[in-house]
Amino acid sequence: MVKARVFLLDYRCLNELTMKKILVIDDEAIVRSSCERTLKPEGYDIKSVSSGKEGVELLEKESFSLVLLDLKMPDMDGVEVLNKIKATWPETKVVMITGYSTVDTAVQALRLGAFNFVEKPFTPDMLISAVKEVFGESDDNSEHITK
């Protein structure tokens, strides 16, 4: 039992060290699955929830390195969730996912402490490069994709 716990702890440490944990909060299932399918093969640990409330609940249980956060959601607004994350888990980075119409808000979100934002519709390359930027990983493709 003790062994198992140690293993578990070790696994967690290992997990935190090697597997970057990413939480996707988006009310749209297709966006969530797009993120999962794009980032999982890149070696990221992806979890996703469909609302800000669920996201916060999950964040209270687990820690994440990065949250991909949709700006517009029905129950809890993206900016609200961002504020909460910045206040409660300041080391967790946030990348906003935004529709074109809400870019103004995204800029505002950057000011509030979001690391970056990705415009919908995004290609897998765009998403990967944005995530890699967060973790400080250089990517050969990133330059021409983000610009």
């Binding site: 699955s33 074109y100 119409s101 919908k120 290609t123 998403l127």
Partner: protein, 529 residues
């Protein structure tokens, strides 16, 4: 003049003429009657004088014959006395009425009619009593058998000393009255004269009345009737609405004053009417202006509201589509990675990716239209931007046969706004111009400073030589999704987006077009102070 008497109860002149005429006829008739009576009276008294003098003459002529009882002589004298015209009969009879001598021999020896003047002159009832009248009558007038007026005079032959002392002693001394001389004098000549005079007088009177009536009539017609008629005509005309009419009466009498007052009244009325007309026109103009303003405002509001709701809808749709589009793009990419780059599958997936990318661009355009684009505002040099945009489009194949004429004004106008948005407007203008000209011709770009409501604007003119815009298309020009380009070539958003941007900045976009000759767009943007 005839009109006056057609309806005399309606004409003052006719009433006056009739009244004056009647008075004149009555008065002149009275005069005429008085003159006639006086004439008759005078003539009668003259006749009487002559008659009495004739009686004296008759008595004297027979006096000596009487004294000498020369009966034949007396008879002869009487016959002689009755010869002149007018003397009909001379008779001498005694107090008992026995005719002793007469110019009509057959009467001698007859008794006189006791109902004649000879008896009744002194005795009121000669058959009953010898009583005398207090004032004896010596003469009377009657109508003789020929119907002429005749004068009968009876003269007393009084007793005198030579009579009762004469040789014959025919009369006693105490006898007062010896007899009477009676003469019947015809007044036929006088009758004729009177008749002639009467006729002449009547003729004069009638002539006088006619002359005076005519004269009065003319005067009344001239002074009263005609001016009144003119006034009435004038009033009729004015009542009919002709306020330019004035009554042409220049006299200084009451009529003149009336006409003058009337004219000045009409003048005032006209002035008031003109003023009212002017006010009405002004009011109508004002109302038309206000109505137009309201209409314009309403249209603008409608347009704005339409654009706004369309924008909201577009934004909503765009946002919603972004999510599935993300899925399509992601999974297409993921799928593509499973196939070699030169495989048919990879190419097909590329089509999906390209078309998704196209969808994404359309959505971006829609969102620009909804003015949700992030804007990078700042001071923009319009001339630099125009030159850059022209330089940029010149390299495009579409613009290879286009000549740009740049007439930019000397200063460097600066406008506060988003350069990208301005460039979007300019590009729109150029693309529309090229499409209108089928890729060949001149595009003129001109700028000028203008003042509007004491604000400085820069006006940018884009003129092409294209097909122009038909009148029916004009009102729809700025409507979103309105396009005359073939399906797939234009979205119909260019002008409405441009319009939206310019309006948002406080400027406006106007268009002038001659169908078949070309179009000019005028973009006015407020200049930075």
């Amino acid at each position: 003049m005839k009109n006056i008497f057609r309806n005399p109860e309606k004409s003052i002149a006719a009433k006056l003429i009739i009244a004056i005429g009647l008075v004149m006829i009555i008065v002149t008739f009275l005069f005429w009657y008085a003159i006639r009576s006086k004439q008759k009276q005078d003539i009668m008294s003259i006749a009487l004088k002559y008659g009495i003098s004739f009686m004296d003459f008759a008595k004297r002529s027979t006096h000596s014959s009487m004294l000498n009882r020369e009966r034949e002589e007396i008879q002869q004298t009487l016959e002689n006395l009755s010869t002149p015209v007018g003397v009909e009969k001379v008779t001498i009879f005694n107090h008992d009425g026995n005719i002793k001598y007469s110019s009509s021999v057959e009467d001698v020896g007859k008794s006189i009619d006791k109902t004649t003047l000879a008896c009744l002159g002194c005795h009121p009832k000669p058959e009953e009593s010898p009583a005398l009248l207090s004032e004896p009558r010596q003469w009377n007038v009657y109508k003789n058998q020929e119907g002429f007026t005749a004068l009968r005079i009876v003269s007393v032959i009084p007793n005198e000393s030579s009579c009762y002392t004469a040789r014959c002693h025919a009369h006693a001394k105490d006898q007062e009255i010896l007899g009477f001389v009676e003469a019947d004098l015809s007044l036929a000549i006088l009758d004729e004269a009177l008749l002639k005079q009467g006729l002449a007088l009547s003729a004069y009177v009638i002539l006088f009345v006619l002359a005076v009536s005519t004269f009065l009539g003319i005067i009344i017609y001239k002074i009263v009737s005609k001016p009144v008629q003119v006034l009435v005509n004038g009033m009729d005309k004015v009542a009919g609405g002709d306020l330019n009419h004035s009554v042409p009466i220049k006299s200084t009498d009451e009529m003149g004053v009336l006409a003058k007052t009337f004219n000045s009244m009409i003048h005032d009325l006209k002035a008031a009417s003109d003023q009212r007309e002017k006010w009405t026109q002004m009011l109508e103009k004002e109302i038309a202006k206000k109505t137009e303003e309201i209409q314009t405002t309403h249209n603008n509001l409608m347009q704005t509201e339409k654009l706004a709701s369309l924008g909201r809808m577009a934004a909503g749709v765009a946002h919603e589509i972004n999510n599935p589009l993300t899925g399509v793009v992601t999974f297409a990419h993921l799928l593509k990675k499973r196939f070699p780059a030169d495989s048919t599958e990879a190419e097909d997936l590329n089509v999906i990716i390209e078309q998704s990318d196209r969808c994404s661009k359309i959505i971006k355009n829609l969102l620009t239209f909804a003015r949700a684009t992030p804007s990078d505002k700042g001071e923009v040099s319009i001339h630099d931007l125009l030159n850059r945009t022209v330089f940029m489009v010149k390299n495009q194949e579409k613009f290879h046969h286009i000549k740009f004429n740049m007439n930019l004004e000397d200063s460097h106008p600066v406008v506060y706004g988003d350069a990208t948005q301005f460039q979007q407007i300019f590009l729109n203008m150029f693309i529309n111009a090229v499409d209108a000209m089928n890729g060949r011709g001149n595009i003129t770009v001109a700028t000028r400073k203008v003042q509007e409501d004491s604000k400085n604007f820069i006006e940018i003119e884009f003129t092409d030589e294209g097909c122009g815009i038909s009148e029916e298309n004009m009102p729809k020009l700025f409507e979103p999704f309105f396009t005359t380009k073939p399906v797939g070539k234009g979205t119909g958003l260019g002008l409405s987006v441009s319009h939206g941007i310019v309006k948002h900045l406080g400027g406006h976009l106007k268009v002038k077009s001659t169908y078949g000759k070309g179009t000019s767009f005028f973009v006015r943007l407020p200049m930075s102070e």
